[in-house]
Amino acid sequence: MKNFLIYIAKIILVTILLAIVLDGLYSAMFIQCKNRGKIDQIYNSEGRKYDVVILGSSRANNHFVAPMFEEKGLKTFNYGMSGSHLFETALMLKLMIERKYQIKNVILEADLNLSGSDQSEGIASRFLPYIHNSNVIKEHFQTQEHFNELYYIPFYRYIKYEIRIGFREMFFNAIHKKTIHLNNLGYNPLDGVENGNMKNNIVKLNPLPHNKYYEEIKSICKANNINLIVVMTPMCENVKGMNYFEKVKKAYPEIHNYENAVVENKYFSSCGHMNDTGARMFTARILKDFFNK
């Protein structure tokens, strides 16, 4: 029995050592890569200067045509991330500040994402490879459930989120395989889709009266002298519960309501996402309203 217990102890030790080695290897591969996505691009850069930085979910990523800002002479990048919530948006901004970015204006898309303050696991997990190398990432996750496991158990985060940051993603990072996320200055144009889903039901959505991460973004901008422009972006016509946008306006009067800026279905790829033509119309309107000097 004694021999067996020693044998089991050896296996446990081997497992722990392997976890530590794999954790180090994976983290090193993620950290050295800067062409896979927006997070690694920010992590691996420093002191960038922007006139405009765009933040938010896919409704920012697919709606703000960053090259149109550049044509106006405004150095811009669209850091909107499809599937992200305000938890990740706030962290993106914090990471930029940690990396000493100098930003004049932040355009934040805040509408449907104001209804919750939880994290979007699929996107939040993409910050985890850097958790031991960035204080803001560590602190941002500290309030989250499972932080201790994610932070202290070696390799646990790569196992828990293996679909997002597992072997496959680590391998692509190791070989610097490019993605489309950084094309078009971060703007991801959508095609018009015939018979796309032009219906949406947001009746059950309600904006939180005090969204923690939205308030955090506001205070970061204030502390860093960044002009914050918060907008609600368009939805297609056939939406049940459209008064949601009025409720947002009531709770947060500073948010500009552009839900009606583009209405016809032909400008939409799906109900919550405009196609490239719609996005260009919308961006032109934003440029006219906020940057028309």
Partner: protein, 477 residues
């Protein structure tokens, strides 16, 4: 509580410690602890079904004794049939009632008679097919005087409800397991080490092979109408490895865990995808079920004795019943039927026992023929698996038809955000490892075992699929 869960990783060492350090005085204390642990293990799914398990155990225990004590043949027959009817009755109600009710109603509707079936809102108790078969084999063996009835209820209960085999087998025989639980187990380092190897290799099969293949197989089968020929072929192959990794992985863990407690269970898989014909496949796949049906259904029906039609009838019965055992769906029945069709030519030409020897390859034409026959058997198996995996028979036929008619063999991006070919390398490595170790129970023991063990653990950590957590397929049966 799944074998690949944190809960089990806590449960197992606690039971192991209590078994060898606290309850190790006599075989009775050892058995009592294993029963308590087994009942706790089972109640983690649904404690209400524990009563069914205990009732089934008591029924077979009592009827077994009554059969043995029976002075007249009439009395023996009465207790025998009582046990058979009640056991199969439970299985019928919980597993098959809704299927028969809706099938009967469909039949009436198709004949123009309007009928709506009265369906029961029942959950299938985990492992009912497995522990019912344990009990049945015990009672049948007593009736035919192959074994003596067990008078110690604790020992008998452990035979039926021993937790490593409780929910998904292997289906044990009283002749094999009961003698082991009748004696006090002594710890053996080498046996326990073998158990650890089997547990770790079982985990590799489950989380690295089965669960990873599952994400691809599901993405392809669930959207087969938009898949090209290459994706559909890959889907069938991925499912073949999913079900093999899942079930044989479970069996490996069960056997390995049992070795830690000094109990040897029946081997359930013997590298089935290296079979040279379908008959050999069925000697290597789910061995405990195949041999159960052979001993308790095929042979009593007359086996391969009798005339040609008897042979054909018995072959179809055993395969169709085996398919039906897997689940209350016509797809399983057709899967069994297809395997019977595959098997029949071998039976009729008396070549079903041709490939009993070990596979040895050399650089000659005969070896090339062996490889071709292995690939051909795998192809047949994959075609049958399409029926096993598809939701309906129509879906299965459409799936196979589309492989032939689509004729596009390019890469395709799947719903799981992966390309259809991405797992080929992993499967290739797995097949090579199994091939090189096909004469052993698992590939980790032997020379450089620590290195092989480390690689297996690294594979579990790095290549395992965890975020899309999957149950063991055979739990539903």
């Amino acid at each position: 509580m799944f074998f690949n869960s944190i809960a089990f990783a806590i449960f197992l060492p606690i039971v192991f410690f209590l078994y060898w350090f606290v309850f190790n005085k006599t075989k009775s204390t050892q058995n009592a602890l294993l029963i308590i642990a087994s009942y706790y293990f089972y109640s983690c799914w649904d404690w209400r079904f524990l009563f069914l398990l205990v009732f089934s155990t008591f029924l077979d225990y009592y009827t077994g004794i009554q059969i043995e004590k029976g002075k007249s043949e009439k009395s023996r027959k009465f207790w025998f049939w009582l046990s058979i009817i009640v056991n199969l009755g439970f299985l019928g109600i919980f597993k098959y009632y809704n299927f028969f009710a809706s099938s009967f109603s469909d039949l009436l509707n198709s004949a123009g008679i309007k009928a709506s079936p009265i369906l029961l809102n029942v959950i299938l108790p985990v492992g009912i097919s497995f522990y019912t078969f344990h009990g049945l084999s015990y009672v049948i063996d007593i009736y035919y005087k192959r074994i003596k009835a067990e008078y110690n209820f604790v020992d008998y209960s452990l035979f039926v409800s021993y937790f490593p085999l409780l929910v998904a087998g292997p289906i044990e025989r009283a002749t094999h397991l009961l003698p082991q639980v009748k004696v006090k187990r002594e710890f053996n380092f080498e046996t326990a080490k073998e158990g650890v190897y089997q547990i770790i290799w079982g985990l590799v099969k489950k989380v690295v092979i089965a669960d990873t293949c599952a994400t691809y197989a599901n993405a392809i089968f669930d959207h087969y109408t938009s898949m090209n020929s290459f994706s559909l072929i890959m889907g069938a192959i991925y499912f073949a490895f999913q079900i093999y990794g899942d079930f044989s992985g479970y069996s490996d863990i069960a056997l390995g865990v049992s070795k830690l407690f000094g109990l040897d269970l029946l081997r359930n898989f013997n590298y089935p995808y290296f079979s040279r014909d379908i008959a050999e496949f069925w000697r290597r796949w789910h061995i405990s079920l195949s041999s159960w049906f052979r001993d308790y259904l095929y042979i009593p029906l007359g086996g391969s004795k009798g005339g040609l039609w008897m042979k054909i009838r018995n072959t179809f019965i055993i395969f169709v019943v085996s398919g039906f055992w897997h689940g209350a769906n016509w797809t399983y029945v057709v899967w069994g039927f297809i395997n019977a069709v595959y098997f029949l030519p071998l039976l009729l030409s008396n070549s079903n026992r041709n490939n009993m020897d070990a596979i040895v390859l050399k650089w000659n034409f005969d070896s090339a023929k062996v490889i071709m026959s292995i690939l051909y058997t795998f192809l047949l198996t994959c075609i049958a698996w399409v029926f096993f995996r598809a939701s309906t028979i129509t879906d299965a036929f459409s799936y196979l038809k589309r492989i032939i008619t689509d004729r596009h063999f390019g890469s395709q991006y799947l719903e799981n955000e992966r390309y259809n070919y991405e797992l080929l390398l992993l499967i290739g490595v797995f097949v090579l490892v199994e091939w090189n170790n096909r004469n052993k129970v698992e590939p980790l023991s032997g020379k450089k075992s620590l290195l092989k063990l480390s690689l297996a653990i690294a594979a579990i950590l790095a290549f395992g699929t965890y975020s899309d957590y999957k149950e063991f397929i055979y739990f539903q049966f």
